[in-house]
């Protein structure tokens, strides 16, 4: 792991300050990245990681401070200039044209002289991709590539532009465990050859296995740096969240009760050509159990959630709740039967941004005596909202604050609390802690476990495998709209789950989309 540690200084940031109205996103940040170093940039959402990357990549200009590039002062006015200097970046959301081929996409970022000779470029792409173990066919259309392959296109693009600093923003969040391993091999090889890598992440174990150094940000400042392989994940987490926040919940396992929800051969055909159809999904869910569904985004998770919430109607028999076919019922009818849903999008689906928390309580809790003869009982609405805020520690200026004014974590606590306080029999939660600060995530996990202990059946859809293994009794994976078998979390290996996430779970059929 000491490879490249003695390299020359590639990038040095001194006292970088970037201020936005009402928020000092970067408050005097120092950072040094050596040649051949894999350097982790850690921090919670809102700690200032994205802003710092944008400063380096020339998307925004710092208000104060200076940058040194290979020892010389660096001023980057635009991403194009950054690329010309050898700084490449792979965003979380890729910037690829789906209707163009791999080579065409890469040609777009090159000077005309290099882009013109397509045959030579294709040759170049093959060479680079093979050399670093990222197999790519330059003639394939991006629309036919898997998410992992698209990421390779982005990385190869940076390499062809001869980047000597590669910035990767949460690169593993879209990958299966196997793809993550392959990516890390590539990154290690790049580092050995002298390329510096700035690796933005909040997954501590990954950082510990991959990175030589780590800089941790908290509230716009550097809260510490360390050699990740030499300290524990808990120590790093402490640097990220500060001293007074609980870092994780201890989850006790319990024996589940009777079957509450039965999904039998649930199929649904998407009308959207880019959508995912559900294909013969089978699932049993018991009272007092949390079942997890893993999977790379876009493999039918949202469709499954909608089929359960009633936003998508399916056959009556497909979904059975306590002996009653609910597949054809509307969301409010299902809610009356004790179904509670926490959708992935907090603002714009789980809550209306421009409305107050009290009004947002009415969105799903109108059946809790908040409406009488068609008229809203505002005193009760406020009481209900107030109870949610109190019970679940939602930080806000009372029940009349706008939903949009809350931080992601606090709004999520409010939404989960709103559903939990209605004592649901079934709770389906999608990515409940995505983009949520560690403290809120712990509170959300506790709320889920409490609901489970109260006898509710919980279906947890998440991309965060740590979360799934921590909370769930049983885990399976969705791939291409098909659900893998379920296995007890204690017996399921991460390798096995990774294969399921890649669609490799039915030997009778060809694997759907091997990575």
């Amino acid at each position: 792991m000491s490879v490249g540690m003695s390299g020359a200084l590639r990038l040095k940031l001194e006292n970088i300050v970037k201020e936005y109205p009402g928020c000092r996103a970067n408050d005097g940040i120092d950072l040094t990245v050596k040649a051949g170093e894999i350097h982790a940039l850690l921090g919670e959402n809102g700690a200032g990681k994205s802003t710092l990357m944008k400063v380096i990549y020339g998307v925004v200009q710092p208000d104060e401070g200076r940058m040194l590039w290979n020892g010389h002062p660096l001023k980057v006015d635009s991403p194009a200039e950054a690329r010309a200097k050898g700084i490449g970046m792979v965003f979380q959301h890729f910037s690829l044209f789906e209707t163009l081929t791999v080579a065409e996409n890469i040609a777009l970022g090159l000077p005309a002289s290099e882009a013109r000779d397509r045959r030579q470029l294709e040759q170049h792409i093959r060479q680079v991709s093979e050399r670093y173990g990222m197999v790519l066919d330059p003639r394939r259309y991006v629309s036919t590539l898997s998410v992992g392959e698209r990421q390779r296109v982005e990385i190869v693009r940076c390499l062809i532009q001869e980047s000597t600093l590669l910035i990767l923003d949460e690169p593993t969040s879209v990958l299966t465990p196997q793809e993550v391993t392959a990516l890390f091999d590539t990154l290690r090889r790049l580092a050995r050859e002298g390329c510096s890598i700035l690796f933005i992440s909040h997954k501590l174990e990954e950082v510990r296995s991959l990175c030589h150094k780590a800089t941790v940000l908290r509230q716009g400042r550097v809260s510490g740096d360390c050699r990740p392989s030499e300290v524990s994940a808990t120590d790093i987490a402490r640097l990220m969240v500060g001293d007074d926040t609980p870092i994780s919940t201890e989850v006790t396992r319990v024996e589940p009760g009777d079957v509450l929800l039965e999904i039998r051969k649930l199929s649904w055909k998407s009308r959207d050509p880019f959508g995912t159809s559900l294909n013969e999904v089978n699932l049993d869910l018991h009272q007092g159990e949390i079942v997890g569904i893993a999977g790379v985004a876009g493999n039918g998770q949202d469709e499954l959630l909608k089929a359960l919430s009633g936003e998508i109607r399916v056959d009556k028999g497909g979904i059975d709740l306590g002996g009653l076919g609910i597949g054809s019922l509307s969301p409010d009818q299902r809610r009356k039967l004790g179904v509670a849903i926490v959708p992935e999008e907090r603002l714009g689906r789980g809550a209306v941004p421009g409305m107050t928390l009290a009004e947002n309580a009415l969105l799903t809790a109108s059946g809790q005596g908040l409406v009488k003869q068609g008229m809203i009982r505002f005193d009760r609405v406020r009481e209900f909202a107030h109870a949610v805020i109190q019970r679940f520690g939602v930080r806000c200026n009372g029940e009349n604050s706008n939903a949009a004014s809350l931080s992601g974590g606090n709004l999520q606590k409010y939404i989960i609390g709103r559903e939990a306080l209605q004592n649901p029999r079934l709770l389906v939660a999608s990515h409940p802690t995505w983009g949520v600060d560690v403290g809120s995530a712990v509170a959300i996990h506790e709320a889920l476990v409490q609901l489970r202990d109260a006898g509710a059946a919980i279906l947890l859809i998440s991309e965060d495998l740590d979360e799934l293994f921590q909370l769930c009794n049983r885990i399976g994976a969705l791939c291409g709209g098909r659900l893998s078998p379920m296995a007890p979390a204690a017996e399921l290996g991460i390798e096995q789950l990774g294969q399921w996430m890649a669609g490799d779970f039915d030997s009778m059929e060809a694997p759907h989309a091997a990575a």
């Binding site: 006015d77 635009s78 969301p331 299902r334 959708p343 109108s366 068609g374």
Partner: protein
């Protein structure tokens, strides 16, 4: 370089100042226009805005014009709060007038307190039925309601012309395209004796109050607001968008239909081709000027009613064309929409932007 940039928070001051600012700009532009036409602008503005309402008769006339505007605007508010852009109040209004008249001409010999309610009900149902066509096209065939309602307005106008030239034409009317005069039992009672002001204004005020209660207190009002602000949240909550669209269209049709019925059973007393000077269209301006709020709509309907009688006054007193009413209404809506931009945006002075914008590098997206 001037830059229009989004405000971090919408300006609540601008929200209410915008209509006032729009009115001031409209008056200023009117001033310039009068000058350009060689008329005395002070005189012109006085005839337009002040003379018409300087006595009781004038105020009663104002109320008379407010009635249909208020009724139409109340119904449109229900639609617009749910972001259903129903432009069809004019058509609903005309069909309401035709439907009410069709019943009223059957009942010319009838006396009794039931005649008027039956006639009004016919108007309400006709308006609602007309709106139901647009609602069905919207919810079942996904037709854009702006286009369908505008087209249905023209169809309604031609149905009105057909009615007064054909089935509803007064056989002893010397060939004029109009119906017989309705029986007294089918006419709305006067509100102020000696003026033409009739019960229609009370209907309008009631409708405005009802809309206020609906959106301030009722659950269906809340559901309509959610559908309008965030249709994904509405789908998630299970507020049926179709059901609510039907509700909004039917309410919009019913109120505009009542406005049409009140017009033929009120000041006119028969069906004539020119039953509406464009009340249904003007009501759209009323809704936006009044900020979709009951009190605002009442004030805005008074102002827009004034443009009708002010326009007539200018024709008489200063020999100006009739188009002056439409001109002032158009100016008002134009300035209002312009000023409304400053609720969400503000102007800032800035250096010219860089040639290469970072966004351009990340335009392409992918479905993850």
């Amino acid at each position: 370089m001037l830059l229009l940039e989004r405000r971090p928070v919408d300006s609540s001051l601008m929200r209410w100042a915008s209509p006032v600012l729009a009115l001031v700009l409209t008056v200023l532009t009117g001033f310039v226009l009068f000058l350009a036409m060689g008329k005395d602008p002070v005189e012109g503005l006085r005839f337009f805005f002040i003379t018409p309402i300087s006595d009781l008769i004038g105020l009663a006339e104002l109320g008379l014009k407010m009635a249909p505007l208020l009724l139409c605007a109340a119904g449109l508010t229900v639609c617009y709060r749910a972001k259903l852009w129903n432009i069809g109040a004019e058509g609903h209004f005309l069909m309401g007038a035709v439907g009410a008249s069709a019943v009223a001409v059957q009942l010319v010999d009838m006396t009794g307190f039931w005649v008027l309610p039956v006639v009004l009900l016919a108007g309400i149902l006709s308006g609602a039925l007309w709106a139901a066509i647009a609602a069905g096209l919207k919810t079942h065939l996904h037709c854009n309601e702006i286009l369908t309602t505008i087209m249905l307005n023209y169809i309604a106008l031609n149905l009105l012309l057909y009615a007064v030239h054909g089935p509803l034409k007064d056989p002893y009317g010397f060939g004029f395209p109009q119906s017989v005069m309705f029986a007294d039992s089918a006419l709305l009672p006067e509100l102020i004796p000696g003026t033409r002001l009739h019960l229609g204004l009370a209907f309008g005020l009631l409708a405005a109050v009802a809309v206020w209660v609906m959106f301030a207190r009722s659950f269906i009002g809340f559901q309509l607001k959610v559908v309008g602000q965030d249709h994904r949240a509405a789908a998630f909550a299970g507020f049926g968008a179709r059901r609510l669209a039907w509700f909004a269209f039917l309410v919009g049709g019913a109120t505009a239909g009542l406005a049409g019925a009140s017009e033929v059973t009120g000041p006119i007393g028969q069906l004539v081709p020119q039953v509406s000077p464009g009340y249904g269209y003007t009501a759209i301006i009323v809704v936006f000027l009044g900020r979709m709020h009951a009190l605002g709509i009442i004030a805005a309907s008074a102002l827009l009613a004034l443009t009708f009688i002010g326009g007539e006054m200018l024709q008489i007193a200063m020999n100006m064309p009739k188009a002056v009413t439409g001109l002032f209404q158009g100016l008002l809506l134009f300035y209002l929409l312009t000023c409304d931009a400053f609720i969400h945006y503000r102007i800032r002075l800035r250096r010219p932007a860089r040639q290469f914008t970072p966004r351009a590098a990340t335009t392409a997206t992918q479905e993850a």
